[in-house]
Amino acid sequence: MIELIKICKSFKGQKVLDNLDLKIEPEKITVIIGGSGGGKSVLLKHIIGLIKPDSGQVLVNGTDTAKLNDKELNEVRKMFGMLFQDAALFDSMTVGENVAFPLKEHTKLSKKEIDEIVEEKLLQVDLKNVTHKMPSELSGGMRKRVGLARAIALNPKIVLFDEPTTGLDPIMCEGIDNLVINTQRHTKATFVVISHDIRSTFKIAHKVAMLYEGKIIKIGTPEEIRLSDNPVVKRFISRETEKACQT
């Protein structure tokens, strides 16, 4: 269970998160939507402890990660996997080495066992015969798939996604959406996805939370969000849907 309580965060005097409260249900896909530059990525980085709040609590299974030291935080982070916006693959390593990285760092498995898990995880994200390729040889969609394979390599309980469909064409987006749904079904992990892609959000989400001016202004099922009376939510959905229709 992840819970953010009264989180405040400012950068150079500019308030990005303002007394934000959010509860994320376990074993479900929660999508956080909001405008560009609205603090969605900052919020996600608070959950995994990459950014510490100015005030407030980030509770992961009851532990306030904002108060942990580096060593304790590293232990908590072993529960997490994260897919970054541009996948953040290590460009000096092959695809196989990227996926194997968390396994080599945190397990005592033999090389053979690691290789088997790498193959399995790559197959899980629909990738074959890419183990020896360098990240620079892959398309944007393939890079994200490798990023996801790396994120789930240690079978984490919580997986975070920072705009998984940004910069991809509609067909590729659909592929990633299906991948997110199938992976969550398969792993039963808690997925937290940051997105401004409304079509994708309604397809994958169990719960949707709308971030606006540093606060969660609405949280509910996709249907509840679609039928929301909140003018900001309505405006955001209609504009994004319009944009999606144009593409």
């Binding site: 980085k45 990459l50 590293n74 232990e75 970054f84 460009d91 968390p102």
Partner: protein
Amino acid sequence: MVRLLELAGRPFLIAVEESGRIILLLISTITWMLRPPFRFRLIFKQMEFVGVNSIFVVLITGTFTGMVFALQSYYGFKMFGGESLVGATVALGVTRELGPVFTALMVTGRVGSAMTAELGTMKVTEQIDALHSMSVNPIHYLVMPRIVAAILMLPVLTIVSDFVGILGGYFVGVELMKINSGIFMAKIVEFVDLEDIFNGLIKAACFGLILSLIGCYKGLRTTGGAEGVGKATTQSVVLSSVTIFISDYFLTSFMF
């Protein structure tokens, strides 16, 4: 007046702040050095990059430094008939100063800049955050091996530079300027102590620490995409070079 003082004091405050952050990075690196896993594979990989791959450039600069130093000393000493001291002057100059300093400057240009560019690119493409997210500390995984490798390899490169520098000086002095080979070598043995060479190597290790620490620090502090990486790399080379010269003075006054 107050505003003027504020403006004048601002760069000083920034310098103090940066120095503090660099020292904190050093302390953190030392702490991580003592914690397992010791990452020998990464250290050896960096030793190859810092040391083995820099040999060629060090050979060239070391040789020509010794040669030009011998040439200038010869012209100077010839004015009062002291040509016999050329060998000792070259050997002392090279082992105490020119070897460590020029090697450090060449490695700063080749390796320090690469460290900043590599870590800077990793920072702006979120690869550093990815390491954090996988419970791997970037100082342990990226900074520590680079700093250890630079501290270990700079003295080795300096020995090579000292050797070829003296060899270059010998070639110019004995072969070109016709100084007696026996006298050339005898004066080196007479004036150069093992301590001179040893202190030069300690200096080299300090320069290795400086250039790798600054290189990594600037890389980890990079912001703003490709432009930011370029800017950080330039700052890293300039700051490392200046710090090497300044610290050289203090190390010399302390050692000799």
